[in-house]
Amino acid sequence: MIAPFMTRASDRGAMVFLGLLIAVAVLVPALNLLVPPSSPFHVPTYLVALLGKYLCYALLALSIDLIWGYCGILSLGHGAFFALGGYAMGMYLMRQIGTRGVYAHPTLPDFMVFLNWPELPVYWYGFQHFPYAMLMVLLVPGVLAFVFGWFAFRSRVTGVYLSIITQALTFALMLGFFRNNFGFGGNNGLTDFKDILGFNVQAQGTRAALFVASCAALALGFLICRVVVTSKFGKVLIAIRDAEARTRFLGYRVESYKLFVFTLSACMAGVAGALYVPQVGIINPSEFAPANSIEAVIWVAVGGRGTLTGAVLGAVLVNYAKTFFTTGALAPYWLFVLGSLFVAVTLLMPRGIVGTLQHWWNERKDRRAANGGPVALTDPQPAE
């Protein structure tokens, strides 16, 4: 009796979320492009880019929620997949510069000319084509996640050990990308972009289009996650999260499930990174920094893991707070705010914002359904 009603309620939540996202996707560009700057309703272009950045972070948070919230895989290195997607997009944008670079070389990006490289490395081939670059945005994070997950899940690396090796993965990539001879611009990374698909990346219209694309990517990511978690596959994921050994004894091949969802999540993170780069105008190895990945996990924890909408809300709220604190007189205190936010959420609201609301709502529903008899809902006990 209760179960179908609850699913319907969360369906309504999903519809509200998508409705809001569409409204934002229409309103923000409209208020930016159509309303004159003198009007109080005008949305300045810098704000469009800033909100677009939040949406990319939200997609990254969504990808983390899918594996952490539903399957219990705490990746502390998801920033790596985000950054790899970003680099793939950055390589496309670099190849679009052409002769407009400082050294005006027709094929070589500036940093390669500077380093006296005679020709383009093989792995840069093809990136001048947009479809190829977009394929790489999905493929590079996806293949890395698949290979990494294949070894990790098959050897049954779980819990904190898995978190540590994901952290090591992103750290190793950071060190690699910092090196000049890696061929990705060393510590300067890739920047000074000019065009995307022939449009100036700095132009107001391009920024609005990128914003709409980010909304669309987030909506698509959300829908994919919803389809996955509401299917029987999603029920198996939750079963793995709560009692992995039991799931195995039921005959489910746990590693295949983890591998699929981890790879899917990495591809989503890659898309988020690819949309992020043209909006912020640079990608460099600091995106691989372990702290970035941990921060993304905090967004999910704040919003409420295992809720999807919570991940998005958490990413937007925490990043808004970050913008607010780091642009004013309070800038030196941002890290303290972030730290205390995480401590406060862990101690006072372990379910996160959306998780707490959902829990409260369901309890009320249950109580009404049981005619006043309160239902003791215990937290899941992890199985051995």
């Binding site: 029987k232 079963a239 009692a243 039991r246 051995e384």
Partner: protein
Amino acid sequence: MDVRTTSALLYLDGVTVSFDGFRALNKLSLAVEPGEMRAIIGPNGAGKTTMMDVITGKTRPDGGDVYFEGMFDLSRLDETEIAELGIGRKFQKPTVFEMHTVEDNLRLALKADRRARATLVWRDSAAERARIDQILETIRLTALRGRVAGALSHGQKQWLEIGMLLAQDPKLLLVDEPVAGMTDAETHQTAGLLKEINRERTVVVVEHDMAFVRELGVKVTVLHEGSAIAEGSIDQVSSNERVIEVYLGR
């Protein structure tokens, strides 16, 4: 291919498992015939749970043979493959999916294609819904089908787990201490439930509770320090001197 050498459904011969020199199982031999219900008793540390671990693939034996249906060498397979062969296991501590509803717990256990790509596009069939209804009746949880499993009482969780075993439709059920922490009435009902299940399936029950084993009225194997020391009816084994010594102290 291996030749069927035994009529037994489950056949253990000279199985040894050591943990850091401690022999949890010491040349354990046991044969369970198809359709049989067997009770395994023994004091703490006798190796009952290790035996379950070996049969279900959680622990690999250091030596000896473990065969299912006379042809499947269980010591070479992992948990998933063994579960697919038709061996279901109930844990000592009730282990259900606490965040799922009672109904979804059964749905996950229901015999079906377990592969990831199959579950992604899964739709319940009418036959499956009927089977779930039927199991809910058997385990007496129909009224609580929409309840989150974590909110069930201890005894109800034990039953739900037995129901999940039934849904798996296994040939062999391994049941580890099914009545631990149950009231007398629940214990009695559980004995009835297991007997009902035994009509169609082979069951191995590991239990401490002598009254419960007596109520089951089946062949008993007594384990001590990793080996079987006696086998027979409950009256036979409880009059066995070696068993009395082990159980009651010297």
